[in-house]
Amino acid sequence: MTKPLTIKNLVKKFGGLTATDDISFDLNEGQSTGLIGPNGAGKTTIFSQIMGEYRQTSGKIELYGSEISKLSTPARIRLGVSRTYQVPRPFAEFTVLENVRVGLMPDSIWKMITEGPNVDREIELALSVGFSENDLRRTPDELSMGDLRKLEMARTMATNPSIMLLDEVFAGLTVGEIDQIAKLIQKMRSENMTFLIVSHDLKALEPLVDDAIAINYGKIIAQGSFASVISDKAVRTSYLGT
């Protein structure tokens, strides 16, 4: 059975700075892994390389067994991997529904013209991440940061991925909102979705993951069960900065 995601010896250098220093790991189908580490450790950079926003300096990225390094970001999304962004980037002049609409669109001009939007599905997605009926026709400038993160989530789900990379999807959310998103993630886990989740909120993260990987200075410093990783000495010092 081919693994959904395999990273082998990934290296990313920006001039003199090594942001990703020989990282290897993989994800099994339906597995949910937490990616933790202090700010600047290189977590988001890994996401960017998986999605094709940065080209890695060296190393392999495989999706379901195929090397994807030559593929464009939209092509990789069509293969089933999708991510949220730490800084939400919604379409500023579209409503919540229209934002989701873009994510739902097939990458075929003919289909875009001949088939209309699936408004029911748009509403379904928007409600599932916690929007209320009133919010559906709001535009991003009227939304709170928490709402914008929910929108990111909905848009990512709209692309119908089988692997989801979540980047700080809980930041700025109220306890109730975190709860709703957490329930959503659990539901998707039960439907065999593969997750790689970055979060500073370790309490919220714990129930959502099978295991964890800790990163610092672009290197993996601990890997294993969530409990063992967060009690690891090197991990604790990386957060406290000694």
Binding site: I77, R89, E93, M105, E115, T159
Partner: protein, 318 residues
């Protein structure tokens, strides 16, 4: 197709078509000629809007496309005696080739750089047309005595109005599909479009080709209305300016906006003509355009729509 058409869309379009059809009954020949220019300007503005208004790839060299359509049909009909019914489609195809050429820089550069390059394209064709094979192109002075498709103001009017309405209706419907949504999304955040699994390259190419199609069509028919072609007037920054301002005043990325912007502008210029005969008119309407644009970049369409929304909200509250 999910066009979301409502009864009032049908009513408004039907009403508009009816008014335009009956126009010759109400107005003088002189006004008809003015409306003809407005019709063609509307076509050019719609063409610009489909590309620049939606995707945000602002083109300052749209006459490059219009010119290809115009010159192709002019050269074919005058120098090679090709019948108009073949020359015009050929002109449109050539313009679409030109649109593809213009699209190539848009693959690798964005925003401001693209705007500059489009200006360079227009300058390039302006110089080429005067220098390469002036025996074909008519050089600096252009060509005259071209085949005209209609005789008289009324027939010219009907041809231009039919063309304009067909173009407007088709583009309006096309932009109401999800394609329109995707193109607008590019204008808002191209990276996010990629992040939604859509390939901006395909979409941009389509936008360029559609814009070129309309520009070529408009350019070809315009040349056969005027019966002449003059590079100095065609490849002029004032012409670029007129098209852009018409679109912006009306309201970019709405198709209907550019239409009304074109009419507004043409009549404003005509109204000013007795007071300011020369290029000074551009001064007044440039100032008006600048103030209006800085006050509300989304144009009159947006202003009208916001008022209507307010009206609806008040009606709902009652």
């Amino acid at each position: 197709m999910g066009l979301g058409l409502r009864w009032y869309h049908f009513v408004l379009w039907a009403g508009f078509i009816a008014i335009m059809a009956l126009m010759p009954e109400f107005v003088s020949k002189g006004t008809l000629r003015t409306i003809i220019f407005a019709n063609f300007l509307a076509i050019f503005a719609i063409s610009w809007d489909v590309l620049s208004g939606r995707t945000g790839y602002i083109s300052f060299g749209h006459p490059f496309l219009i010119g290809i359509g115009a010159y192709t049909t002019a050269i074919l009909t005058k120098r090679f005696d090709v019948p108009v019914e073949y020359a015009i489609p050929t002109a449109v195809i050539m313009t679409m080739v030109g649109g593809t050429i213009m699209f190539l820089p848009a693959l690798r550069i964005k925003g401001s750089y693209f705007a500059l390059v489009s200006l360079a394209f227009m300058e390039l064709i302006y110089q080429l047309v005067q220098v390469i094979r002036p025996d074909l192109t008519g050089g600096t002075r252009g060509m005259s005595g071209l085949v005209t498709l209609t005789r008289g103001a009324v027939n010219g009017y009907y041809l231009s109005v039919t063309l304009m309405i067909i173009v407007a209706l088709c583009m309006w419907l096309l932009m109401r599909t999800r394609l329109g949504t995707a193109l607008s999304a590019i204008g808002m955040n191209e990276e996010s479009v990629k992040g939604s699994g859509l390939s901006p390259t395909k979409l941009k190419l389509f936008a360029f080709m559609t814009s070129a199609f309309v520009a070529g069509l408009g350019g070809a028919f315009y040349v056969h209305y005027l019966g002449s072609i003059a590079p100095r007037a065609l490849f002029d920054i004032n012409f670029v300016f007129t098209i852009i301002v018409a679109t912006l005043i009306g309201g970019a990325s709405t198709i209907v906006g550019p239409m009304f912007g074109a009419f507004f502008l043409t009549f404003l210029l005509e109204y000013l003509r007795p007071y300011l005969p020369g290029a000074e008119r551009y001064l007044i309407y440039g100032v008006i355009a600048l103030l209006l644009y800085m006050y509300q970049p989304k144009g009159l369409y947006h202003i009208v729509m916001t008022q209507l929304d307010r009206f609806k909200k008040r009606a709902d509250d009652d």
